[in-house]
């Protein structure tokens, strides 16, 4: 879209004018780097139950047009495609875009708290689907608060991979409860993951890396992968190279701390 002479378009106007036509420009979707997940109180982001999510709208390529027309009132079919990978705090969607061709048969969802960033990813996915016919139909993004509403989106044991890449470090002790890896939230992640499912964490903040690994180590439902297992994990190889934050850290020659854990079956307590 050409800018009219004699006057610059505002960011909002330019965003509206380019949406659905070109690849979204990041500069039009700048947002604060941080957002407080505990004060985010918009119920409109949360479906009441996983059955209320209109998956056909998010992944139209995987549903018939009839199913899409029924919206969220559509009755759930057994065996219909369901999301297996979730990128919690997907940011600008770098990982989603890289994972999409690697796992073409898997539905992947990015969740992001910041409105504009989520909007960017949605536009980015739509642009990619337009530019590459038949591709990128398996990735989508929703704006929601994952610290509150993950169980509203997914059933027990539905997921096989959960990504927590370069999360907000929340350095202050009093803000540790805002961290995305915490004993309370790990119980939810264990609930959502199928046994054998994996949790991926990466950060460039050493203190946070230690903290996340310690929380996962002490949780009885998670087991850290060995070096060999990590080396054999295709998605694990993407964490530093595919994400925007990871590339930024590499550019600045920083260090990235990666830890991958597996959801294990609970050991039955002796009666």
């Amino acid at each position: 879209m050409k800018k009219p002479k004699g006057g610059k378009l505002g960011i909002k106007e330019e965003r509206a004018a380019t949406a659905g036509r070109t690849h979204p420009k990041k500069r039009l979707y700048r947002s604060r780097a941080h957002s407080n997940p505990l004060s985010d109180m918009r119920a409109s982001d949360a479906p009441t139950t996983p059955a209320d999510v209109d998956w056909a709208a998010l992944y139209p390529a995987y549903f018939s047009s009839d199913e899409a027309a029924q919206g969220s009132s559509r009755a759930r079919q057994p065996g219909e495609p369901t999301v297996r990978f979730v990128d919690v705090g997907c940011g600008f969607g770098g990982l989603l875009v890289r994972l999409s061709p690697l796992f073409p048969d898997t539905l992947i969802l990015g969740m992001e708290l910041r409105d504009k960033v989520a909007l960017y990813v949605k536009e980015r996915v739509l642009a990619l689907r337009r530019e590459h016919a038949g591709q990128y139909g398996n990735v989508a993004c929703v704006r929601t608060n994952s610290q509150k509403y993950l169980p509203n989106f997914f059933r027990k044991g539905q997921l096989t991979k959960l990504f927590f890449l370069f999360p907000d470090p929340h350095f202050k002790v009093q803000n540790h409860r805002r961290r995305i890896i915490s004993p309370q939230l790990l119980a939810e992640y264990a609930y959502l993951l199928a046994p054998g499912g994996r949790v991926y964490t990466a950060t460039d903040v050493p203190e946070l890396g230690t903290w996340m690994a310690a929380r996962l180590d002490e949780h009885v439902l998670f087991r850290r992968l060995s070096e060999e297992e990590v080396a054999g994990d295709v998605a694990g190889g993407m964490l530093t190279s595919a994400t925007e934050e990871g590339m930024k850290v590499a550019r600045n020659e920083g260090q990235t701390f990666v830890a991958i854990y597996e959801r294990i079956q609970p050991v039955e307590e002796a009666a």
Binding site: S44, A46, Y149, P151, A187, A190, V220
Partner: protein
């Protein structure tokens, strides 16, 4: 706020910051002051009836000797405590803060239910050593469209069932193992026409207060958005909330208290068929606003109601006991009953105000829970305004 001693002859009542235990057998009330520094949010007896656990806005949980009223232990938490429970073996005190509205341990002691302000009810696997945390979630029971306010288990012959009450005015029956919803019963509905009584006035007051907040935000918005574009703040209307669910020892009968309503609803719980049926609207003489109810081991229903005035010592407190008649319905126990003395003791302890005075004084009381726990839902526009006008951290 009230808890009933499972041993069957005492009832604990919290009004504001103070807790009192009324023993019906010895016919006296606790004399030692049982106080928190701020409002008590939840209290419960341990399964054996020897201890009382309370938690409140002073960020403390306290364990008391139920017989003497002496303080056994205090735990300090980083946030206000909103729910408390004992483990099945009485050895561990559990408490929760923040958005949790209720904590209940299931019969058998292996499941823990928690309700929250997002309307979720979570069933967790309670380990034998809960001090190491509660890492495993059994299920999420999703369906309430407003905050969940109370939970109770029903030990049915067909298996364990769970009931939950909510600000959406419904009571729901669940299979706690799978999280599947078995039945929904509408316990209250939005009033068709706003009544002009205390409750209506309270709601109007609240609406006016909210409108003032909106005005303020909109003023800021007008500065932030000089286009003069104004919007309406969509305010979610909620029916009166379900305050309390009590389930009888047989697992078949439940009693429900609804905010601001004079009757208790008695339900038949069919765990096998997965149904809830309203069997009786129980009005007890002299009980105007039931707020809490509990069954004792013999199936008698203890009900506490009344209105707390500000500062809480001066309030009106009412206690009634209902027994089941041969026809199956409940009726108020006669004057010779066990609770008559407790009733007198309870009502004598709170003589600070007449009922009319207290009701008039605390007009907001009948619908307090609703305005306290209701989630503030902001429109996209208002969220944008808040973002633009908030103070930088």
């Amino acid at each position: 706020m009230e808890a009933h001693n499972p041993a069957g002859h005492a009832v604990a009542v919290a009004l504001g910051c103070c807790i009192q235990v009324f023993d019906c057998r010895s016919q006296h009330s606790s004399e030692a002051p049982m106080e928190h520094a701020a409002a008590v949010r939840d209290l419960t007896f341990d399964p054996a009836g020897r201890m009382l656990l309370s938690g409140g806005d002073d960020k403390c949980a306290r364990a008391w000797d139920a017989a003497t009223g002496s303080l056994l232990h205090t735990w300090e938490a980083p946030k206000k405590i909103s729910a408390v429970a004992f483990s099945g073996d009485s050895r561990v005190a559990l408490f929760a803060d923040n958005t949790i509205t209720a904590l209940v341990v299931a019969p058998g002691g292996r499941r823990l239910a928690s309700a929250d302000r997002d309307g979720k009810v979570r069933v967790s696997v309670l380990p034998r050593t809960p001090l190491l945390g509660v890492p495993e979630i059994q299920s999420f029971c999703l369906g309430h469209t407003a905050f969940a306010s109370c939970v109770a288990f029903a030990d049915c012959p067909a298996g364990l069932r769970m009931l939950s009450g909510s600000g959406d005015g419904t009571v729901r029956l669940w299979d706690p193992e799978s999280g599947s919803l078995l039945a929904t019963l509408a316990a209250s509905a939005l009033p068709a026409v706003p009544a002009a009584d205390g409750a209506g006035a309270a709601a109007a007051d609240q609406a006016a207060e909210d409108a003032a907040v909106d005005e303020e935000l909109l003023e800021k918005a007008a500065v932030a958005a000089p286009s003069g574009h104004l919007w309406l703040y969509p305010r979610e209307e909620l029916p009166p909330a379900v305050l309390c669910i009590a389930v009888a020892p047989d697992g078949r009968t439940a009693a429900i208290a609804v905010e601001g309503q004079p009757e208790l609803l008695v339900l038949d719980v069919d765990g096998a068929a997965g149904t809830l049926t309203l069997t009786q609207e129980l009005e007890l003489p002299g009980l105007t606003r039931p707020t809490a109810a509990a069954f004792d081991r013999d199936g008698r229903l203890w009900v506490v109601g009344g209105v707390a005035a500000e500062g809480a010592r001066a309030g009106v407190l009412q206690l009634r006991v209902a027994v089941r008649g041969s026809h199956g319905g409940f009726f108020a126990e006669g004057a010779g009953g066990l609770a008559a003395a407790a009733q007198a003791a309870v009502e004598a302890a709170y003589t600070g105000g007449s009922e009319e005075g207290a009701v008039a004084h605390t007009g907001a009381a009948p619908l307090q829970l609703n305005s306290q726990l209701k989630k503030r839902v902001f429109s996209e526009e208002l969220t944008a305004v808040r973002k633009r006008t908030r103070a930088e951290q």
